[in-house]
């Protein structure tokens, strides 16, 4: 099979629609199809932007057999350099429904590795999935970015949390906890205990903002040395990532009129594994060391005020993990995997030691904006 992989153009759109139709007809998830438009609706390339998406399609005799996307973004490294790094996302291969095209998935990744020497993957749903398995075999460096959650509505949580209700005994215990209020009491006690331990935050103010402004530049410059690897979060990047018209909550944290942090939060789209719960996510954040706890607290309160039953976040940097714990979040098993290609991993050595100073959040994956 002669397969060519090339940039997705308007002339391919009809073939992509056919590809998507074949996937759905063969039972694939209708939400996991390839982009219908050749020009990205989110983060299209402009002449001067280092932050943009690019799509590619795999063609065999004019028939689309797969596709993938690269999000190009500037990252700040521990050596002080800023380098363009690509995020490999949305790979789709006809091989998932037709084994005669099984090699397409590998060819897509190979093409991406040739186009973008500094390459990472993020998310991927867990180590039992095909892509993380392949990346492991290729010798990529990887680890699961810690996942944190805070229960707001304990009764609802105990009734609805599908992921925990995997056995008859657990379902029985969780229903019992919900009905008797024992579950509510347990979680309320935990939250109360955490509140007593939290540092006093009265001197900090949280401001809900529509869009980010120039004040982000100073904060980016002041705080970037905390990280050995982080997407550049300066004013220019934040303007593109979080335009005023998105549905996300944006918060600026100040102390005595001086900005010490910001956070972005939002309610996730409904997900069967959370049942009927409204789930909020602390999507992204940035702060000086003193601003991390106020930023998490502000984002948490904003999500509580908006009616969320459960709040979640994935954070790789120790500063944010500590802030989440101080604000009453519990840690649980994560399927949000970060995998770095070899050339990228070379810049992150020693990998294990550097992990706690790598700053990656849900915003660095493909969750924006489709998960909100």
């Amino acid at each position: 099979m002669a397969l060519s992989i090339e940039p997705y153009r308007e002339q391919h759109e009809a073939a992509v629609r056919e590809f998507n139709r074949r996937l759905i007809a063969a039972g694939a998830d209708p939400n996991l199809v390839f982009y219908g438009h050749a020009t990205p609706q989110w983060l299209p390339r402009t002449s001067d932007s280092g932050l943009y998406n690019e799509y590619f399609v795999a063609l065999s005799d004019g028939v689309v057999r797969g596709g993938y996307a690269l999000k190009h973004q500037n990252f700040y490294f521990g050596d002080g350099a800023v380098r363009s790094v690509a995020y490999y996302h949305h790979p789709l291969s006809e091989g998932i429904v037709d084994k005669t095209h099984a090699v397409v998935g590998s060819l897509l990744l190979r093409d991406a590795m040739a186009r973008a020497p500094l390459l990472y993957c993020l998310g991927m749903g867990g180590y039992d999935r095909p892509l993380p398995k392949m990346l492991g075999k290729l010798g990529w460096s990887h680890w699961a970015i810690p996942f944190y959650f805070r229960v707001v509505n304990a009764s609802r949580f105990l009734r609805e949390m599908q992921a925990l209700r995997t056995s008859r005994v657990r379902r029985l215990l969780m229903n019992l906890g919900a009905i008797t209020g024992a579950g509510w009491l347990g979680l309320k006690s935990h939250n109360a205990w955490k509140a007593v331990r939290k540092p006093r935050l009265a001197s900090y103010e949280s401001h809900s903002i529509e869009s980010f402004a120039e004040w982000t530049a100073q904060l980016w410059n002041d705080a970037r040395n905390q990280s050995t690897f982080t997407a550049v979060r300066d004013f220019r990047a934040l303007k593109l990532l979080y335009p005023p018209e998105d549905h996300l909550i944006k918060l600026q944290i100040t102390k005595n009129g001086h900005t010490v942090g910001w956070a972005v939060a939002g309610e996730r789209r409904r997900d069967p594994k959370f049942g009927d719960m409204r789930v909020g996510s602390i999507v992204d954040c940035w702060a000086s060391p003193e601003g991390a706890v106020p930023a998490i607290q502000a984002a948490t309160q904003a999500l509580i005020d908006s009616g969320c039953d459960l709040i979640v976040s994935n954070q790789s940097h120790r500063l944010w993990q500590q802030a989440l714990q101080i604000c009453g979040f519990l840690r649980a098993e994560s399927n949000f995997i970060f995998a770095a290609g070899k050339q990228l991993a070379n810049h992150l050595q020693p990998f294990a030691a550097n992990q706690e100073r790598i700053h990656l959040t849900r915003a660095d994956g493909d969750g924006l904006p489709r998960n909100f």
């Binding site: 091989g95 090699v103 998935g105 190979r110 075999k137």
Partner: protein
């Protein structure tokens, strides 16, 4: 000292999930059950990553035994500009 063949065999061991001492220069999709077309490409990818080379479609087809794969890698690494 790890010869180039031993390095290639080690990569194959990781990709196909077999102990290295069960793989020989004659190992191929015919006698290694896990070596199907998808794993073949993963093996190629792993070789390219490990040795920083790029194989042409014809070379990918040629690498049908471990011995042939090692020879291809050797030729590629020798012909790379220093």
């Amino acid at each position: 000292m790890n010869t180039l063949f031993e390095q290639v065999r080690s990569i194959a061991s990781d990709v196909f999930g077999l102990p290295a001492n069960q793989l020989t220069a004659d190992s191929s999709p015919r006698n290694v059950e896990a070596w199907d077309s998808t794993q073949h490409l993963t093996f190629i990818l792993a070789l390219e990553e490990a040795f920083q080379i790029r194989l042409s479609p014809e070379e990918i087809e040629q690498a049908q035994t471990l011995g042939e794969a090692a020879r291809l890698v050797e030729n590629k690494t020798l012909s790379q500009p220093r």
